[in-house]
Subunit: 324 residues, 4 copies
């Protein structure tokens, strides 16, 4: 009874961007990679898609396939145009006679124009073909301008390069217990002024209707000066914590989700970087504590961080019987 009162007394927050009482959400709210589990519709796909964002975040292999596909498509298009306007105006070359070899000559001339390599063994003659080639070389420069920018943008995009422990653990802490997860930078980057925030999402049945409630999770330490080694985020589960009143079973029933955001200043990019992740209830380990993930080098001259131990923990017993 008092538990139920407690639950009701806890102030949920409405400023999560997911809307208050948004009980219509489907599945988890945030994917483990930090993106929202959300689709948009109602306006055309080209209006609701940022081509820049898409090309910037696409898998590397897909991106290069896209570049190659675009290159071939433009060449094909111009090969057809040169063919239709008279392939005989492309002078020089191997003296192609068949339809296919003529077409390929136009295709390769197109690629030499688009990339501005312009060997000139095959060269345009006459007004029309010269005009088309002139436009194509302009298009080539502009298209590759965008590609250049994109490749560099992909390469240089400020990112936090954070490795989160795949599990969130419920560990003994002070006289009680705490929810803990661990984060470390996995590249040779250096973050300063690092801020962390954690939000709990619960899908609760109210009057037979499922509503989603959000609660901030207070962290023991929510800001550090510099993230050199690993950082263990600790949420002490006190009476004030929204987690205090939920049993393990209830956590599963409410499809608990913990959304974690890290924001920091990256020295090398000289820019703010941010990374987000989300833990669903089945990523919670009850009764465990993290093992250290760094050690002194053999010669004592530097510290070694072992990134494969980001999720290393050992199971522990709580002093008293606790269902987290």
């Amino acid at each position: 009874m008092s538990v139920s009162n407690h639950k009701q007394r806890l102030r949920d927050i409405e400023n999560t961007g997911f809307g208050p009482n948004s009980g219509v959400e489907g599945g988890r709210l945030v994917n483990p990679d930090g993106s929202n589990n959300l689709k948009k519709r109602g306006i055309p796909v080209w209006e609701r898609t940022s081509v820049y964002h898409t090309l910037l975040r696409m898998k590397r292999s897909h991106f290069f396939f896209f570049v190659f596909f675009l290159y071939t498509s433009i060449n094909l298009f111009f090969a057809i145009v040169y063919f239709l306007t008279g392939v005989e105006h492309l002078v020089g070359g191997d003296g192609a006679t068949t339809f296919f070899t003529k077409f390929m000559e136009a295709f390769f001339f197109s690629s030499q124009t688009l990339t501005t390599v312009g060997y000139g063994r095959v060269a345009p003659s006459g007004m029309l073909t010269n005009s088309i080639a002139s436009v194509e070389s302009l298009i080539g420069i502009l298209v590759f301008a965008v590609m250049t920018g994109l490749i560099y943008g992909r390469f240089s995009r400020p990112r936090a390069y954070l490795l989160f422990s795949p599990s969130v653990i419920i560990a003994p802490f002070k006289d009680g217990k705490a929810l803990m997860l661990r984060v470390a930078t996995y590249k040779n980057n250096h973050l300063t002024d690092v801020e962390a925030s954690a939000t709990l999402a619960l899908h609760i049945k109210e009057n037979g209707k499922t509503v989603t409630k959000f609660y901030p999770l207070h962290l023991e330490l929510s800001k550090i000066q510099s993230l050199a080694l690993s950082w263990t985020l600790v949420h002490h589960i006190t009476e004030e914590s929204p987690l205090f009143h939920y049993t393990k079973k209830e956590v599963a029933e409410t499809q608990m989700e913990v959304i974690v955001t890290i924001k920091a200043f990256d020295d090398h990019f000289s820019n703010i970087v941010q990374q987000r992740t989300s833990y669903s209830y089945n990523q919670v380990v009850y009764g465990a504590k993290f093992l250290p993930m760094f050690e002194r080098s053999a010669d004592g001259s530097h510290t070694i961080m072992e990134l494969d131990k980001i999720n290393a923990y050992e199971l522990v017993k709580f002093p008293e019987a606790v269902n987290a």
Copy 2:
């Protein structure tokens, strides 16, 4: 009488950048696209125009027309130069004999030089023509450097991609009423640390003279962690609100304008983005409430946001008679 007192008691703000008592403003202050309804003069147009800003914000079709126009102009210029300095120094080519074909040969040679495609079928010979071609290829590289930068700048410019509801509504709220408008991201971007602010502008007659007064509109929630779904900005019209004392008719007379600014951190750009809009009095809908604009997907696995419902509302009656 007390209403009038109230009106005078309200503190207007002078820090809007529009200047205190700026009764000389013409028409609306801020356009719906967020730009100021303002012209500048007194210094030459090239000094008061940022070419970069202009080219960056110009419509896409206009921009590409500009690029094509520039390309053709430079080619024409150099074609004339090559022609005047002796088109016979462009060796090779089709053996042009007429004025027109000779000129076009110079034109196409120019385009091949500018884009650095340089087929070489037509090539410069002699000191003068070689020098001109050498300078032209340098100019080509520099001009396309700027174009490359601009195209990528247009492409990658941090923008908020926010969709505002075209209407601002006066809806029942708590025991009274509130001014509400709705905003959502319409692209696959992700905003965090989102801040909103709203300012009310009124053109009031004081001693027969029209002066413009600005009032901040207090928002129930002015900051959210993350803008995943839509966000309804709510200004509760309490006694403290500058809107409390105006009837619908007075709102029109004072040419009420609500200026809304959203500022946020964009994850993908790793940059602050900002968008502004303005509502004039004829965009206000009295007695309405917004309808939900998201739902669960058929398979329950994710949430769907329907962007075409951004302005979806239904008319409602206020409990008591209210002129907002």
Copy 3:
């Protein structure tokens, strides 16, 4: 006597970056364009100069002269190399026979290689010449990469584009007087969250030794939401003001300097921009007030800002005799 006490009571500030009691400074501290009137020495010029900063801020005409000079120098260098390693390995061309025409052929071949235009009318043959040309084309790409970046960097560098009134005036204000200056954006840029700060520097004789003291000048309004029209910065000269106790003559004797910094968020750049200026004592106008610099357009549809009136003021009498 009490004046003197007042002067001593005023808290000077030491956090200006100019060092406390830095009486050794020569001339004005900050130039009107906002740069420090300061030279550095003690380390070699190439270590204490940022080539990037220099090329980014150099006058446009100087920059393009630099680019042209660099282009010609590299071509000259490679022309000499081709000449020394045997100009006869550059096959094709006009069949040059004299020293000069041979050298120029090498020069033009170099420029065609550097810009990658590569007509091929003159082309390298043999191991050595081919190797040099191969290296030159690589250098060409890298050099123009930097030039491209610089041109775009110059073009797109976030700047505040602020116009400051050339004069700072002492105007009647409330029951006393105030120091005022005016600022406006002169391009089609849009600044939000604009912050201003003003610092007073005085060169005071203490025990026969000149020391520089800094005082913050409190502004009536130091932050505005948006800088659409002009903004008049107002420092009310109250008893708390360091200016209260100085006569016009003393202001000249102490070589008074007012350093003003404006910091804002630019919508188009999506970046923080900053501009600084400095007023020396001979830019102060005593007893004047600024005239409005904007008006309604003839058709009443928009506001017009007259930038040539940024310094427009009319002389006024102070109610009582005041020496500011």
Copy 4:
């Protein structure tokens, strides 16, 4: 005894990113250049290395060697491909007959294709060779796109260009003593809103085990408006200071380390810049004070900062006997 109590009473900080009680660290924590003295392992080297960061921060000579090496490698690769697929399809050229000259012809053709210089003296013929050349020119554009970006990124990367005094001194200050170090910008850059922070790291033996403790060092002035001349950071060693209770010998035993971070806004980059350094106990000078490092120019028109005097100090005696 009370000293020991004092030591224990001092609150150490846990928010340094080095982890609490991280007694396993080896050697100094932060290198003088501001990087962490840390190695990472446990995931493959290509996953824990940011190629972008590495290429951006690599020494200039190494970077250009890398570019040249990459260029040669790609050319070698394609030379082999052309050779294997039939070097006879590269028509024109010197009529090479030996294996080596044929290979080199393929190599140089490759370089002309990769850089898009494309003289065309040697040109591809036939389907296969044309296809390979077409792909190579695409690769060339993409590779040089990345190189272009990197070179410009290296060039334009926001950096603080701060010169720290190599020594940290213990100087007389007020009635006691203070730890001081000096910092100045050494390039023609201009920093505003400059913030400094200092952290003390001590390796203390607790129960026979070495643990690392961190303490914030309070600075007399931790923020200045503008860094024009030099700035002396001053930590007054009061009873509250963690340094108060350590003798010179103890400082060495605890391997004291002072980590200093400066964060500022750079006017020219319009960006936040940050620089960090670390002083180990053997860089501390006891009983000294810094000498001025700027003076008036001979003509009195500007100030001169002498950067070679950044570490200039004179030894002084403390009034009472002090072991810092």
